[in-house]
Every structure is written in C-alpha cells, then in structure tokens.
C-alpha cells in the first residue's frame, strides 16, 4: 500500500527529468506546444483508450432515457423517463433477471468454496499430481467458450440429463472455479507465512490460527474471486446458451432474444443500473480501504 506513494514520487521525478532533458536540444520556442504534446502523448493515448472503453456505457445510459418509435431502441427519438419509472414493464424480463441472480449467487457460493480449498492446496502444499492439478485449473480459462459449452451440452445430451436450471448451474460452477482459484492462489502465495508461525508460537491451535490469522489474510483474495465469479456467471451467454434448454431463460438470453425481436428500453435501464451499482460498490470498497489504511 505504501508503494502507491512511492510510485507517485518517482513518477514526479521522472516528469521533471523528461521536461529538463529535451529543452536544451529543442531550441525554438515555436515547437514548445508540440513538445508538450509529445511528452503527454502517452496520457492522451491512454485517455482516448479509456473513452473507447466507456463510450458504449455512456450510450446505454443515454438511451435508457429514449422514447423509441418502433420496437428497436437504436435511434434517438425523444427524452423520456418512462422506462426508469417502470423497469419491469416488459414481459419476462425481470423474471429472467431474478433467475440470473439466483444462478449467480448459487454458483458463486459453490465455486468460491471449492475454489478456495483448491487454491490452498495448490499454493501451500507440495504433492504428487500438483502439476496436473494446476493444468486442470488453467485449461478452462484457455478454452474458447463455444468449445466448452458445446462439449458440456453433448455430455448432457448423451447422458439424457434434462436441460434447465441445474445444468446451467453445473456449467457456471465449472467455468467460475478456475477464476476463483487464480484469485485466491495469488493472494495466498503473497501472504507472509511468518504471521501464522507467530500465531502458533503464541499457542494458537490450528483451528484458531486458521480462523483468526489465515482466513482474514486470505479474505481479500476470496472476495475478489467471489466477485469475479458472480460477474462472470451473471453475464455469461455462450456457455449458458448451450446448456439451458428452451424454457430456462437467463437475462443475457433474454437480451439475445430481444436483439432479434426488438430491444425494449428497459434493457438499457437494467444495464445502467448494473453499471452504477457495481461502480458504487467498488468505489465504496476503495474508499473504505483507504480510510482503514489512513487509520492504521
């Protein structure tokens, strides 16, 4: 956490020296703005990239206040807050939203628990088969989603499992696991083992050490893994489409269907709300962490 201020300082010295060195070589004052532009080229390019990243979110937000003429919400017609006052005014949309939330919560719980166990095994122990374990965890992240979705779908077809809620849940837990393991493993590997040794030296039992020292230290990694798996599960479309069957419609599947039939403005409302809620949570977490750091 102290690195933040450290970097801050050195970047300031860097800016100073970069400003100093070209000046004697540059010469003519007419070129000064050009030089300044060049020095800030990286910042300008970075800002442009950021705008590119955020542009669709701005459009989604803007068009949540649109009053479209036809079924498709692609052209701006008139300002209206109708969609915001009646977000569930579209048939089936809020039902699919609830289903997505249910699936995301359940698969996050299971994937986070299983993934955390596995991360501790892979980060803390040396054992035969560790390489295989690592590869098994890594592979789902290195596989295109169509391939995973189609092959899991083929398994369910061959074993005559009925497609629906359970098959979606199984698929989501499957692809969330790896991301949880990676997030938790990174955290556990960076933890100082001496803290746990100290706890044991102070006569803490294994359970006490784990609950009072290990778990609180690993918590940020576990939280990151859980958030990631919630976001991935909530947003997944490709794997879900192959494993959902015709009657179970998650929110992304609803949007996909709507893209063919006509996208209601309410979809933009949900998109905007998701964006704002998530940003608020993350910023709140950052502010809280910053305050804790200042108190410490």
């Amino acid at each position: 956490m102290a690195t933040g201020t450290h970097i801050d300082n050195s970047s300031r010295t860097k800016g100073g020296s970069a400003g100093g060195s070209p000046a004697p070589a540059g010469g003519s004052p007419a070129l000064a703005p050009l030089r300044r532009l060049r020095r800030h080229a990286v910042v300008l390019a970075g800002a442009a990239s950021l705008l590119y990243l955020l542009l669709p979110n701005v459009v989604v937000m803007l068009f949540s206040f649109n009053k479209p003429a036809g079924r498709f919400n692609y052209d701006w017609r008139a300002f209206s807050t109708d969609a915001w006052t009646d977000p569930c005014g579209v048939a089936d949309m809020c039902g699919s939203l609830g289903l997505s939330l249910q699936i995301a919560v359940l698969s996050t719980l299971v994937a986070t628990a299983f993934g955390t166990f596995a991360a501790f095994a892979l980060a803390r122990y040396r054992f035969r088969g560790k390489g295989t374990g690592n590869a098994l965890i890594f592979l789902p992240m290195a596989m295109p989603e169509v391939v995973m979705g189609a092959s899991l779908g083929t398994l369910f077809l061959n074993t005559r499992v009925a497609f629906g809620f359970v098959t979606i849940l199984i698929a989501h837990i499957m692809f969330c696991l790896s991301f949880v393991v990676v997030a938790v493993k990174a955290r556990v590997m960076s933890m100082d083992p001496r803290l746990e040794e100290a706890a044991r030296d102070l006569y803490a039992g294994p359970v006490q050490t784990f609950l009072r020292v290990t778990l609180p230290l690993a918590a940020p990694g576990i939280a990151a893994g859980a958030m990631l798996s919630f976001a991935l599960s909530f947003d997944d479309f490709i794997i879900t489409q192959f494993n959902a069957g015709p009657s179970t419609v998650t929110f992304p599947m609803f949007v996909w269907g709507a893209a063919q039939r006509g996208v209601p403005v309410q979809v933009n409302v949900i998109g905007t709300a998701m964006f704002l809620i998530a940003v608020a949570i993350v910023l709140g977490g950052q502010i809280a962490a910053g305050r804790r750091r200042r108190q410490a």
Binding site: S11, P144, V146, R200, D235, A259, I270
Partner: protein, 322 residues
Amino acid sequence: MTTTLPASAGASPPPGPAGPADSSGPSDGAGTSARSRRRLTPYWLLLPAGLWLAVFFVAPFFYQASTSVQSGSLEEGFRVTWDFTNYTDALATYAPHFLRSFLYAATATLLCLLIGYPLAYMIAFRAGRWRGLLLVMVIAPFFTSFLIRTLAWKTILSDAGPVVSVLKSVHILDVTSQLGLTGDDRLLATPLAVVCGLTYNFLPFMILPLYSSLERIDLSLHEAARDLYAKPATVFRKVTFPLSLPGVVAGTLLTFIPASGDYINAQLLGSPNTQMVGNAIQKQFLNVLDYPAAAAMSFILMAIILIVVSVYMRKAGTEELV
C-alpha cells in the same frame, strides 16, 4: 510452474515436526497417523474442484470426441461409425468461417495491444493517486452486460450515426471499401464492425495483464537507463517493453482465444458474410441439431488454437503464465 515451487515450499512449513508447541500428538503412533493425514490434506482440498472439473470439463471432451465420429440423423439416432467425413465436411464447408475467425481474432488482438498498451502504461506510470480509480474505470464496462454493450455499438456505428458521417466526410470509408473491409458507405454488417466489437469486448483482457506486468517493473531501471543517456524512446524499446513481455503474451492469449470462438459480435454487428466458426457451431448444435458436425467443428477449432498457441508460446519464450 516449477518456478513457483520454492516459494510455496517456503510458505508451507512442515507443521508436524515443528511442533513441540502444538503438541497435540502425545504418542509416537498418533504422531505418524497425524502426519499421514496431513500428507493427504492437499488431496482432500483439491477433491471437490478437481472432481467437478473432471466430470464437467474433461469428461465432456470424451463424449464430444465420440460424437464427432458418429453419423446418422436426428430421427434415427446417431451411432458411432468412425466416420471421419464429419471433419472433412466441416473443413470443406466452413473453411471460410475458420479463416475469418482467426483473421478477425488476430486483427482484434493486435488492435487491443495498440489501444491497450498506452492505457496500461499510463495507469502504471503516470496515474499517481488516480491509479485505483482508473483501474475501476477499466473494469467498470464489464458490469454492464456484454450483450447490452455490444448492442450499444449498433447505435454508435449505425448508418445515420456520427461515426459513419465523420468517416464518410474524410473519405476513410472509400479506402476501407477498396480494401473490402466495408461496403456501401456503411459500417454495420461489415467486417470492420465485427473487428471493432471484438476489439472492444476483449480489451480489458489485454489491459489487465499488461498493467500487472508493467506495474512490477522496478522504476530504478528507468532511472538507470536515463542516467546512461538513453532517450525516452530507447528506454521504452530496451527496458520497458522487454520487461512487459509476459503481460503482452498473457494479454494476447487472453484476447485471441476467446475472440476466435466468439459468435456474439459477428451475429449482432455483422452480416451472413462475416460469420465466424462460433456462429457455425452454434447453428449446427442449436438449430440444425447436427451434433456430430458441431462436435467435429469444435474439435478442429480447439486443435488449431492449441497449435497456434503452442507455436506462439515457444516463439515468445514465456516461462510462467498461471
């Protein structure tokens, strides 16, 4: 993976022998059984996740392998006939789809690198105390559904939209039409729109690994280079970029692999002439219900990706990705 072993070995102090302090095992017999139990601990910890992945990730590939050599029809049922025509048919019929997939994915990956590098660099070295906020803004677009954001590009790139009119006024669309990237003075339903969508959707997968490798660079190396009279460009070429290579490799893989299998962008922003192999697999599996064809195609896709990735990783010579 081997490089991590010493670290993790250090992190796992063999708690058994260390312990007169935690003297839970009084007699010798109890001590050894506790030790053997401890030896089994990692396996118990790995069991739930490992079993889940074995049953729902590995086993499906065997089912799919057997499906890919089946023949028959939906009415009469499919039987394993060791008929490899599924593979040859898929290649004959969908060669353009495969070609397009890898071409689009490679272009999008390159664009992601060009667009993502300055941003990752800025956050790592120039952001100061804004760093946390900027990282949030990189991840933030993720929070709105992938599909909703892709539909937003339909609005941005629409024929009457500002992007098309600007590009038209500076005659860029004429050039891209000559190159076959666009046609009829429009962006939607052209290869350019699909590549734009792919680039946008996978950009965070490029930025985050780039950032984490740039952030790890020791800034005294930059100072040393400048002290040795290296120009900023030289510092970048000889110090920063080589040190960020692990991030470049991880980022390009994380963009290229999912992009080559994606069918959402090609479906929503493209036309029948811009369909990728993902679209073909999806159609065979969910609409035509020709499961053997879909299985054969996804095996071919997987094989090509494995070859491309292993060649690339050998060329890039990276050690540790996981």
